[in-house]
Every structure is written in C-alpha cells, then in structure tokens.
Symmetry: C2
Subunit: 292 residues, 2 copies
Amino acid sequence: MEIGVIGAGSLGLLYAYYLSKKHKVTLYTKRQEQADQINNLGIQMVKENSYHTANVCATSETIYKESILIITVKQYHLETIINHLKKLSSRTIVFLQNGMGHVSQLASLLHHRVFVGIAEHGALKVNEHIVHHTGEGFTKLALYQDQVEPIHDLSLLRNEQINHFPIVFLPEWEKMLKEKLIVNATINPLTALLRVKNGELLTNKYYKKLFYELFEEVILILGMEDKDKLWDHVCGICTSTSENESSMLRDIHHQRKTEIDSILGYLILNANGKSIPHVSFLFTAIKGIEVR
Amino acid sequence: MEIGVIGAGSLGLLYAYYLSKKHKVTLYTKRQEQADQINNLGIQMVKENSYHTANVCATSETIYKESILIITVKQYHLETIINHLKKLSSRTIVFLQNGMGHVSQLASLLHHRVFVGIAEHGALKVNEHIVHHTGEGFTKLALYQDQVEPIHDLSLLRNEQINHFPIVFLPEWEKMLKEKLIVNATINPLTALLRVKNGELLTNKYYKKLFYELFEEVILILGMEDKDKLWDHVCGICTSTSENESSMLRDIHHQRKTEIDSILGYLILNANGKSIPHVSFLFTAIKGIEVR
C-alpha cells in the first residue's frame, strides 16, 4: 500500500520507519531541510542501543497523494492540515492526536473514511532523522463514522502485522479516546507541575491524593461510569511507565508548547458548570509555565 | 534590659545582633556547638557587602532567666519551648512565628505578659554565626491579652529605637496576624509550587489568576472584609519583594521542612466546610514535595 505519514516528530518518524517495512511510505515534513536529511540518510530507529535504518521518501510539499494518510502532528497544528484534507478526494485518514479537541473538526471530513487512533508507543525524537523507540505498545484504531465496515483499506494492517509494531482495531472510538484522555489529563499535568516521573504519583501519598481527586473530576466531566475499573487502568499505566517522564513534563523541560489546551482545555470546555477546581488550577498553572 | 532570644536561625541571629546594641542579650541555641561558635566569634551581620560584629552570649542550656524572652523558632518547634515557659515565673514573652497555629497554645501562658509579633525583615542565615540582613522592615508587636496596658517592659523598645531595626506596637493582634497570614498563605505556597520569585505572581497573567483565586479562599476562611484593600496590601508586598524567593521556596530548594502546616494547615482546620479547593490542592502538593 502507499501510505502518507503527515508530521515528522517522534511519532511521525516512528510510524514512517515501521510502516516502510511492508509499505511504500512518504513522510510529509514541515521543513524541506528535514525532508532532505531523511532522503539522504534514511530514518534511523534506535532501540536498546541498536540502530536500524529505513529508506523513506520525504518531502515538505503537501501533495498528499496516497490513499491512506496518517496524521501524527500535535493537535495544535491540525487546522491547516484539515483544511487541506477537506479538498482531497475520498480516501482513508487516520488521526493519532492526544486529547479530543480535534474530534469536532472531523465532521468536515466525512467524505473520507476517518479513523481516530491512539499510539501507545514511547518515542523520543533524537534529531531530524533519528527516533528512539523507548517503549513498545499498541496502535489502537477505531472508525469515526458510525457505520460498521468490517472490510476496509486498513484491514491489511491488521492481517499483516509488523514486528514490534502491533495494530489493533476497536469498535468504539469515543470510549477509546476517553480512556486515553483520562490518562493524559491526570498523569501529564500533575507530573509536569510537580516535575516528577510518572511513578511518583503513586508512591508519594500526597501526590496520590491529588492524582485521585483529579481523576474524579475528569471522569465527572466525561460522564464515565465504572470508576474503580478506570482508576485501575490509570494506575496500571502509571506503574508500567513509572520511570518515564510524561510528554508534558518533557515539553516543559524543553520549554516547548504543551498539549494542555487539547487535554485539560477540552475538558474545561465540556464541563457544563460541574465543579472541577483541580482541573482549572492545573490548566492555569501549566498555561503560566508555558508563557514564561 | 536583659533579653533572651530563643532560637538561633536567621531571625534569632538578626534579633540578637540588633538588640545587643542597647541591651544585654542571651541567645539560646539548640546545639551547644553553635553557641560555642557565637561565643568565640560573635554574631556577624552582613548588609550590603559590609560586615558588622556583635558580641552576644549564647548557650544551649534552657535557663531562660531574662525578664523578656523573644521566641524566634519556627512554629513546629514551639511545643517543647511552650512547656518550659509554662513553668517560668511571670515575665514578658514575645512570639514571632509565622501563621496562627500557635495562638491557641498561648492560653496556657496567661500568667506572663504575652505579645505576638511579625518580623518584616529579610534575613538569611549564612552559617552558625553569620546572618545576611537582606531587607529592612518593621517589627510589629501587639499584646495578646485583652487588657489595655499602655506601659510595659517593652515600652523601652519603642522609646529607644535601634537604627535599621524599627519596632512598632499595634492595637489588634488578631488583625495583624491575619494580614500577615494572608500574605504567607498566598505568596509562599504558590511561589514554592511554581518555583518562581514573588514578582512573577503578578507579571504572569495565569499565575496572577491563581494568586487572586487563592487570596479569595483565604479571606473567606478568615472571614475578613475590605477585600480590595487587602488585595492591594498583598500585591504591594509581592511587588516590593518581587526579586525575592519566598521563605517556603527557599525551604524547598534546600530540602528543609516548610511552614505549610502552620499556614495552610491552620486555614484548613478553620475552614468549617467552606469551599477552599486551591488551599487544599496547595497544602497537599507542598506536603508531597516535603516528603520527597
């Protein structure tokens, strides 16, 4: 298959690297210099101290000619891309953003087959063409459109799995995104404000108290039931990533823009007057850290 | 006059240094090694790059024989001292702690003449016998007992002022302590959590929002009116100390115990069910940072 990967951050490099094992991948970068480097040197993927290289075609021209497009840019860079996608002929488009702020914009793309997905991989961009695969996980995809469609372009991805890069399909996109959002809305801002690794949210009894209170506010906003099971889920991820710095903490350490708007900002917009003081406090504190 | 200063932290060293200009001061230290150093080398006070020395008698023995005792230890070290003071014959005792948690314990000392006070000086302990006087301010004192008593042992302190060390007497101890508590309960925990200098609470619009919301909760708990005037007061102090690190931020930088219990802890105990989410969040977060 021909696949276009849009966005060449850590996730874009990782997806382009792995998908190129079985498919013809074009990586769309923002800057032509990065595309040139990738065309000259390939994408290097580092994992447990061994290097692997894949030759991938890269360009900064927004041609988007492939029948499958995978969008890996951060949510706050989506707007321009969605305006492009609106004008394209029908194809399959996969959105891998954190948060749920972008979901409302997908209504303008219904002439495509739209999937939303979550990427559970740990990935760090080392430089323009090198990505460090720090943790293996699933790519979970769900069809955004209501209709059930058992056979589609992406079935091939399910049937011909790539080593160390498993892809699964889930039936309910909203449930899937909400579960991810709970994780991102609790672990990310708390670790970013407190400047601790994920695991400390469970080992420090005071942080754990804040973590749980914040979790309660988030599921209140999302209107989710099965609180105990969801708390176990969040704690499980916190435990399995205990030695990691969250992406938001890394963004703050590197003085980059965070994804706070698409995570807590989205929740605040959907709170409908519910009492969510910790969400508000953390949103404002992280915005304050960002503007420093 | 013979004055005993109890506690040889930054404030104790500063008060012993200045008061020794006109009075016979004994400084009560926790450890005899510190007393030995002070007896051998005097107290050195550094101000704007010039050094000044005062010879002060120091001891770790809890003799407390002076007719005026000034207590400068942190609130969380008061308990043992108050148990000593209970047994002493009647004299004048001045408490210079932050917060208001200790006020309830003063009821056991009513055979003494008890003053509470606030120290507006900036002082940094450089080592066992050197203190840096970083900012001049008033010492404000108020009689804790209800009776009006215009003439007392401390009148001499008012009448014979010491250069760079002004002392004033105020009529209402509770109003005085509450106004100081508002400052300590807002500027201290926020700057400690966000790890910023005082001034940034006003220059960063997001931090200022949190600052004001926290201020509103604090005056709600304290049942204070005249909100606008109090906000001006807090902002004025934030501005005049804009380049300073708050004492709580310094405590956290040096991995010392903070005064969070006597500041926000006291407010939580007196909240009577009022909604104070930011106070709770900050209390728990600072406790979590402390135990790391």
